[in-house]
Amino acid sequence: MFSSNKSERKPSEAIQVGKPAGRKLNEFLINASVFMGFAGVLVFFSISSSSFLTGANITDIFLRISITGPIAFGIMLSIILKGINLTPGAVVGLVGLTVTATIRAGYALPTAIFLAFLVGAAFGLVTAFAVAKAKMNPFIATVAIMFVGDSVARVTTQGGLPIYIYRAPEAFSNIYRGSTFFIPNPIFILLVTVLIYYLVLERMKYGRRLYAAGLSIKAARAAGIRVNLYYGIAYFFATLSAVLPGIIVASQVRSGQPLIGHAYLWDGIGAAFLSTIISKGGRPNILGALFGAVVLSTVDNGLTLIGVPFYWKEFARGLIILAILVVATLKNRRT
């Protein structure tokens, strides 16, 4: 309990200024391998399918990214807090149903969109409450809420029957097919979303606090950050971030498909975790998540083009996510 300042303690630790060189090299190698791997994948697909590198297909890929991306970004918010959020899997479908049902009932598009956000917000609030207030394990909570959401979808559609819109209003169809400033709408929305996330997370104090809360609840609290509040808000927005993709999907297929969100959910999870690999020090980040969305969407597109049936795609997706998890865990191990 009483120390002795008489002990000769030479400045013991080698003053390590910056990361040890070995670690930096490690990081660089892993990042490089990921990029090269992706490049390899691109090469593979271009060889295997002549339509891969066409303008139309690339546009398709970007359109898919515009759906997977925001979902990945939302999930990324949760993994910043060392948790996860699976609710987008259900919200995407529910939003689609809401929008199409509203339009079919004759209401205007803005009303439909408003209701969609309401649905998303409702789920977001429940999720936020479960994790931040009731302190539930995020996985269990969001898996259960997603399940409930799916059940709601099934219940309201007699078991999962889609809701079709036969004469889709132009405005609705244009969400997917129209353009703003010569950029297809979904991509425009994606860019705006990326910009907002980037600004908030990297350039605003809120992002700083959020990262702090995720890295160390104790340290964040000691710095005066209201950690519980940030948890609630992050999980809320994670769920809410599925609303826009849901609307875009509904516009794309001009119908409300109850369970359509699942595939995007998995891609979103993979993309969000990929951002921990392409990152400084394992921190999930928006550009990494965007890259992840690019990778996962491209792989999905490429596999479809070369005729891989959906079940093998699912199998591949599972393995890809496992691989990402293994690399991410290995890379971010402290020892």
């Binding site: 120390s3 700083r208 890295l215």
Partner: protein, 504 residues
Amino acid sequence: MAEKILEMRKINKIFPGVHAVKDVDFSVEKGEVRALIGKNGAGKSTLIKVVTGINVPDSGEFWFDSAEIKHFSPSDMNKFGIEAIYQENDLVGHFNVAQSILLNNEITRMKGLTIDKRKMHEQAAEILSKHLMISLDTRRLVRDLSVGERQLVQIAHCLVKKPKLIIFDEPTAPLNASEIERLFAIIRSLKKQGSTIVYISHRLEEIFEIADTVTIMRDGEKVADLELAKSNENELIKHMTGGSFELVAQDIHHKPSEEEMLSVSDMNTEYLKEVAFSLKKGEVLGVFGAEGAGQEDLARAVFGLKKATSGRLELEGRTVKLGKPDRAIKMGIGYVSRDRKEEGLVQDFNILENVTLANIDKYARFGFLKTKEEQSTTKKLIKKLSIMCRNFRNVVRYLSGGNQQKVAISRYFTLKLKVLILDYPTSGIDVEAKSEVYDILKELSKEGTSIILITPEYEEIEALCHRSLVMRDGKIVADIDGSKFSEDLLLSWAIGTGNSREGG
């Protein structure tokens, strides 16, 4: 001549930059109760970790029960019959007492087919009554037991393997008076049954009560083996400190102003009792005491990280609501946690991010970070505090302990700091950084910031403080003015019976 159960000769243990144990001879006779005392950093826990097999000695001989031991590992030492009881919670909360005591030694019947619950309860109860002379309902769950009862369960679990040497590491810290008596009765009974005990503690009056002999360590060396019956508290303290210290002239810093800065009254938490003190503007107040005497609680309660069941805090005359760290910071109170790694800093943030974290509102306009200002402030602070790094983008995790601490302190320089509370600020820091931190603190107090300095190092109190509190068992037991500082005095308040010993 009684047989020696443990004999360690010329044991050395060196860590990078620290010769923690120097040529120590440590021997214990069978059936002895040996106390081991010394200040923090004296080397006791390093030495004990050699005995329990966690540390491998760099040189020296180790004999246990007349057999020389060359391979060191915890499970080996267990096999030889060495057990240790620590303060950590080594129990499974939802197990009952019998399950806990007999973990990995369960009793089965029908040739090992099923667990014999009845026999387990019987045997557990027997161990408790025979060796510990207590009876506990063995069906009770560990998590429903009091801290003292849990310790008993841990001891019982230890005894199942019939150890020859049992080490107790600060066992009485969480216990109340009757539980301590019970523990002593157990130790005496264990001794009668032939076990040897090594008892590490900082509570001198307990050592006189329970131990036969005492080994005192200082600066990595063994300085004395004494028979307690022939010694007294003052002699022990003298050995621990190496003699009296000269009062260092306190011209190094100014006198604090007469204005009151902070006043705390009637503060109670789970552990703290009726804590009250006040602080003048520019004053440096030390808080001295043994580990766990309540200093940390005091700091955290004032800052708002620990719930206070009652208490009043006034800063410059204005009442401050307790329990909200963000409030405290806004009002100018800073807290540098003892746990630099997990709490003082966000290890994976860089210097800039850590420096601005507590007061980030200042560096943001409409929520957007004013990067230039952040950077210039951080650069200034790096220079001012001589933080050794390449630039502000260095991730804090890779800085040395001393530099990390400077970053942790520097974050409060972004505020109009009125009171800075530091808890064990120089633990694990090299000498150079330490003196730099001292200079920083002296500067601060000269500029009018009040400082509360919790430290186990007397030298720090002497060098920096105008005044010091001494805490013990959750209470403030002494408030000593700088002119009366002496290590023996403070120590005796902290761990002894409080008989003051002025000067040398």
